[in-house]
Amino acid sequence: MDDAYDLRGLIFSLVEKVIPPILEGTFLEESTGQITFGLATFAVVNIVFLMLFFSQFAILWIERKAVARMNDRRGATTALRSLWVGENGVTAGEWWNMLPFGLGKPVGAVNKWLNKKFGNRDEKYPTVDRVNNRSWMGYSIFPGFFQNVADGMKFLLKEHMVPQRADKLIFEVSPFLIVSSTLLILGLIPLSSGIYATNPELSILYAIAIFGIAPIGVFFAGWSSNNKYTLIGGIRSAAQLTAYEIPLLLTLLSVAVLSGTFNIVESVHFQHSAGSWNLFLMPLGAGLFLITMIAEVERVPFDMPEAEAELVEGWWTEYGGMRFGMLFMAEYIRTYAACFLFTHFFLGGWHLPFQGLIGSIPIIGDLYLLIPGAIVVLIKAWLVFLLVFVWARFSLARIRTDQILEFGWRILLPLAVFQLILSAIYRLYLFDPSAMSDSTFGGTSWDAFGILFLIPAITTAIWLGIFFLMLNDEDKSGNTERMFHVYTDKAAGTYVPGQE
């Protein structure tokens, strides 16, 4: 079902109203159609790109804060605030006096007012007052969100250095290769059916093709830096990305088979008009997609290519300053893109949870459908990032290279093939094309024996059952005694050192 907010249509109709009268009578009159299309597309592309790019700050912030919580900390709390909240209203000097264009006085006045209003005045945290540059407000209002801006400013001010014996041309080119191919992915990601930059027929294939360019840049970067760490990182990256690209492609193929299209927007529409999000039809595929995506964006536990403990920073060790920042940003954009792709392929894109059921209720349903699709997509993508990428990153340990490759080739690849077969079976034998509908309620293609949504329900139940079976898969009979002290083979509490 189309999202109620059609930004693309709005901009196109506006431009089509404004431009033709201007061009009338000029020599450009004949190409009015192309110019209109070009201008409107330019506007839409920019808006969509800016929306995607700046909403990316949220995931950086989510990661910092969630990770801090998982580590029993609070994370960034005071970035940039230290400029205006110091101890007892004393900030880091009167820095605003250095501002140009006479901005010093007004900015200073605002700053002083902020200090007066929000400075350290709370007696609840005397220790916070006692340590400079902190604030008890630091963890209660929007803490640390602008830390990334501060980091970016720092990166911009750093020197650009090229190793003396590096392959200079390739060294300079590969970050551009990585960053530009990464930014191109954003162009294919719809925020809703009415907010997207471009929508080619085979956008799934196109997105994956672009996703596959960056590994070349990674290998170039690792090779051209003329450094053993970058080289090892680059080679590991090449091996890993190749190994995981294939199950990823097979998983996407099974999504395409299930939804009968290679187009992202259409596959989202399919999930509504067929009656079930793909997550509930192919939980295995969703898991495969997430695992392979984590490996593709080189995040923990698959971050062998940039294993800090052994390879400094892996293949980007030699990049400093803003190039380092750009590479880091590219990595996060790839992760963000992966979140969006998961949202679109498995979580029904801009469709709200139970949109068909709730949307059919008279007044409440109408209000429910007023929630903008772009917001839904963003929230889903952020949740995927938080609940999968961040949580996995800070729970699991890094996996050895050989284990990564073995896992990829010998477990994920057969499972992906299995999922592909399953999808084909689902589509051929369990799917009822005649029950598809683009109405508010959506279709009922996945019903069986007259029971609504029976097939996704049973599929999900089976896979959850397998998950819980695996959780409890241990030999309980081997462990009838009480717990044992790890350093001895004596039962806990009975071991006294020096007394055997």
Binding site: D72, R73, E87, R130, W136, L471
Partner: protein, 334 residues
């Protein structure tokens, strides 16, 4: 051999150490989830109560000896552990002894001493430098002992409390003289000094003295010119204390200090201390770390014994000197 092998095979394993799906995959997720939830006070309270071994967020009569209780009461504002929100208990296993324990103290939002009042910064911890300037004699032993050159000595106008000592040592100090300096106590400020906490105040210690130059002495009254206003005034000589413009003052560059404590060891007059305070020593620029006399000041009342013994020592010295002088004068007149 085979028996040893089978023993190894049958060696009991910690249930958390088995490399199965639950322990390798699910259990880490569970631990991080609970840890993350616990950092929010509301979840912390719930999980802390459910899983705690009764350590944090509980009162500890068995830990609180008299000294700790006194200390906790003296800063009740932030030592009330029933008000602590964070770091609830975590269960732990022998395999992951650190994983579930509260490792992080959210300083400065919480302090270890606040969470666990039976702990304290040890007295021999070398923290912020503190000087009882009143007993300092400007011998500069500390300056020459400092390996980092972070101590600097200057002189300033100040009252030497030893000169104006009451009780058994009175009259053993210097006396008011014309052309010299005098000071008058400002009682309000002197009273507020007891409440004054250098660590939390972030300001200089207020001066309880008003300084003046002595213009004329006539019996019980003295004509003085106040240094702050420049006005001349006639005051009771008994109200005036002797002030000395040659009394030493120091500035300590804490940015250079490595807290070795050699200055404290060099001091022959028990005026130089390394306090055990560890915070309040930060600033936005290097100059903020130049601690002048008032920021390193330790009030004499904090170390009253040391001050008293120093007082007695000097009074006895002065007494001996006067006795010798009197003996010599008697001898000469004889």
């Amino acid at each position: 051999m085979s028996q040893a092998k089978s023993e190894v095979k049958n060696m009991p394993m910690h249930p958390h150490a088995k490399p199965n799906f639950r322990n390798l995959f699910w259990y880490p997720f569970k631990i991080t989830l609970i840890t993350a939830l616990r950092t929010f006070p509301i979840f912390g309270r719930i999980f802390g109560k459910r899983l705690s071994g009764g350590y944090h967020n509980t009162t500890h009569p068995e830990f609180l000896d008299d000294n700790s209780a006194t200390r906790a009461a003296s800063s009740k504002l932030y030592n009330d552990i029933s008000q602590q929100e964070f770091a609830p208990d975590r269960v732990t296993s022998d395999l992951f002894p650190t994983l579930w324990k509260p490792q992080t103290v959210q300083y400065p939002y919480e302090r270890l001493e606040d969470m666990e009042p039976w702990l304290f910064v040890p007295g021999n911890y070398n923290g912020r430098i503190g000087v009882i300037w009143e007993t300092c004699t400007a011998c500069k032993l500390c300056v020459s002992a400092c390996p980092n050159d972070c101590l600097h000595m200057t002189t300033e106008l100040r009252v030497d409390v030893l000169d104006g000592a009451d009780g058994e040592h009175s009259g053993m100090g210097a006396e008011l003289e014309v052309g010299g300096h005098a000071a008058k106590l400002i009682p309000e400020v002197a009273e507020s000094l007891d409440e004054f906490n250098l660590v939390t105040a972030h300001t200089d210690t207020p001066d309880q003295w008003r300084f003046a130059e002595v213009l004329d002495l006539s019996g019980d009254t003295a004509t003085v010119r106040w240094n702050d206003s420049g006005q001349e005034q006639e005051v009771e000589a008994a109200e005036l204390y002797v002030a000395d413009d040659q009394i030493v003052s120091g500035r300590i560059d804490l940015g250079r200090c490595m807290f070795c404590g050699l200055c404290m060891e060099a001091c022959g007059f028990t005026s130089f201390f390394m306090t055990n305070e560890y915070d309040g020593m930060s600033g936005f620029n290097r100059q903020d770390l130049w601690f002048d006399a008032s920021r390193t000041r330790v009030l004499p009342s904090v170390h009253q014994e040391a001050v008293d013994s120093e007082l007695a020592k000097r009074a006895n010295k002065e007494r001996d000197k006067r006795a010798k002088k009197a003996a010599r004068a008697a001898k000469e007149s004889a």
